[in-house]
């Protein structure tokens, strides 16, 4: 075991799996699949269960309570049911193409996702902007998926999704600029190191402009990824499910999972940029790194990051359950007329604040 901290998890994983001679890309691929299967998939199940139970509590209902204790295995039951549902036989090849593009574009960001101080596969100067690229490609792919379906919900659903994405991306980009101003860089490691473990030293609470930037970033992300309550492009009541109106069974499972993954990715990035990242309290990070317990460090940081991510996702879910779904023009109005001015105001304020402290 080397005493020097490796800068990503590939050496650790190849050591753990006994694949010391395998090429790096192979170990990386295995690692990404493991991240997906062990972290994202169970998170999706857990969060969807919490969503239904909490929503039921707010509405004085019971929620799922049959599949397992307190309905805990309801997501598994849903998955099994969806997987064995017969899909329509006349699925055209364009739909297949665009659904694959949609999925691949989104899952390419598993490599970018920051999961710990040592678990950074991609840590370049512009790391914080890579999810935006993925979201824009996702929107384009979804729009083309909608067009290829050749029906009214497909066309209008696709266009609405793109409209929302563009509307939400602009203020969210500006919010990331605010965070970069504070940290001085856009690398994941720099953004994390500029924050501390206690809430007082998180980026979001360091000055009021950063708080506005965080709110704008989270709201913009919800808009980009069509997360309720900003899911006008995918709503059943308004547009028959939009792009997902033609998707059944396994394809629908794939689509829904990738939508959840987008929500998860955005929440992880919000936590890393604004809410203290993975920095463990009481200086545990430093102690573990110095003593060489890298596995423990990885695990502890990951758990801490995931807990904060789940808390943020829960807040979003609560807000989604408490507020009516917005109409698509209301959502884009909100982005251009409220989020964007506040984002610009926060940018100017954050720039002044940073330069004031540098003087």
């Amino acid at each position: 075991m080397s005493t020097q901290a490796p800068n990503n998890w590939i050496p650790l994983l190849s050591e753990t799996l006994g694949l010391a001679d395998a090429p790096e890309w192979f170990v990386a691929a295995i690692g990404l699949v493991l991240i997906y299967v062990l972290i994202i998939f169970p998170s999706g199940a857990f969060i969807s269960y919490l969503d239904r139970k909490l929503g039921a509590d707010f509405q004085a209902r019971v929620g799922p309570n049959r599949a397992g204790p307190f309905g805990f295995f309801q997501p598994l039951a849903d998955l099994l049911k969806l997987l064995q549902k017969e899909a329509r036989s006349d699925w055209n090849w364009q739909e297949g193409l665009w659904l694959s593009v949609h999925t691949v574009a989104l899952y390419s960001t598993v490599a970018v996702m920051p999961l710990g101080s040592l678990a950074l596969l991609v840590n370049t100067d512009m790391s914080a902007f890579l999810p935006f690229w993925a979201a824009l490609v996702l929107a384009l792919g979804t729009m083309l998926l909608g067009f290829s379906q050749g029906s009214v919900p497909g066309w209008f659903g696709g266009v609405r999704i793109v409209a929302q994405t563009l509307a939400g991306a602009f203020p969210a980009l500006i919010a990331v600029l605010c965070a970069g101003i504070r940290a001085g860089d856009f690398r994941w490691s720099a953004l994390a190191q500029s924050q501390g473990a206690s809430p007082l030293s998180w980026a979001a609470f360091s000055n009021p402009f950063q708080l506005i930037a965080m709110a704008v970033f989270v709201a913009g992300g919800l808009m980009i990824l069509n997360v309720p309550p900003m899911d006008a492009g995918l709503s059943r009541s308004d547009i028959h499910g939009g792009v997902s109106s033609h998707l059944y069974g396994r394809r629908l499972t794939l689509f829904r999972l990738s939508r959840f993954y987008g929500f998860f990715l955005w929440s992880v990035i919000s936590v890393v940029i604004f809410l203290g990242a993975w920095v463990l309290p009481f200086g545990i990070s430093g102690a573990l790194k110095d003593s060489g317990h890298f596995h423990l460090l990885h695990g502890a940081e990951l758990v801490w990051l995931l807990m904060k991510t789940y808390a943020l996702m829960l807040v979003v879910i609560i807000l989604a359950r408490l507020n009516p779904r917005g109409r698509v023009d209301q959502i884009t109005d909100f982005a251009w007329k409220v989020l964007s001015p506040f984002a610009l105001f926060a940018l100017v304020g954050a720039a002044f604040w940073a330069s004031w402290r540098a003087l």
Binding site: A56, F58, Q59, N323
Partner: protein, 177 residues
């Protein structure tokens, strides 16, 4: 200054503040539901068919319109229910029976796959033989089982002849008594 940039910014900020207050208000109202404090915040779902909290037939409101039942001995075979049923769920066939005062309702079928439980037939039944029961569990495995038969059965020709004789005897006895 009316209509100036500052007043429109002021109005804009007021609108944003109102939006935030309404979101916060809904949050404050709804989050206590998570912790189920007080009588009003318990779940109102009936967990049917678990016996713990489900409603039995006795819990139903007094005028609940459950599955229909016909007391075939009181039924006069007047076919009012058949005429008034909006979905033609009732089929009645009746003829004169052995007793000259009573009809023999040979066929009285109610097709519950058509019945909408509107209650018009019960309202129109003047002998009061057709009533709603308190039962509501009517699921069956075969479509043919959805038709409930209350009739007394078809009558053969020989039986009709015998009954005609019986009726004559009863009428002649009446004249004398």
């Amino acid at each position: 200054m009316n209509g100036s940039v500052f007043s429109s910014i002021h109005r804009y900020l007021q609108d944003v503040l109102r939006g935030m207050k309404s979101t916060w208000g809904s949050f404050v109202t709804a989050v206590p539901y998570l912790f189920r404090s007080g009588e009003l915040r318990r779940e109102v779902t009936e967990e049917y068919p678990d016996p713990i909290s489900s409603r039995t037939a006795d819990d139903l409101p007094a005028r609940s319109r459950g599955l229909l039942e016909n007391d075939i001995d009181r039924c006069t075979g007047c076919q009012e229910c058949e005429r008034i049923c909006p979905t033609q769920a009732i089929r009645v066939e009746s003829e004169i029976g052995p007793d000259p005062g009573k009809a023999w309702v040979s066929v009285f079928n109610i097709d519950f796959s058509r019945c909408v439980f509107c209650g018009l037939c019960v309202e129109s039944c003047f002998p009061g033989s057709l009533r709603h029961s308190r039962k509501y569990e009517g699921a069956v495995h075969n479509l043919s089982e959805m038709v409930t038969q209350f009739g007394k059965g078809e009558v053969t020709e020989t039986q009709r002849a015998k009954w005609a004789v019986l009726r004559q005897q009863a009428e002649s006895e009446e004249v004398f008594s």
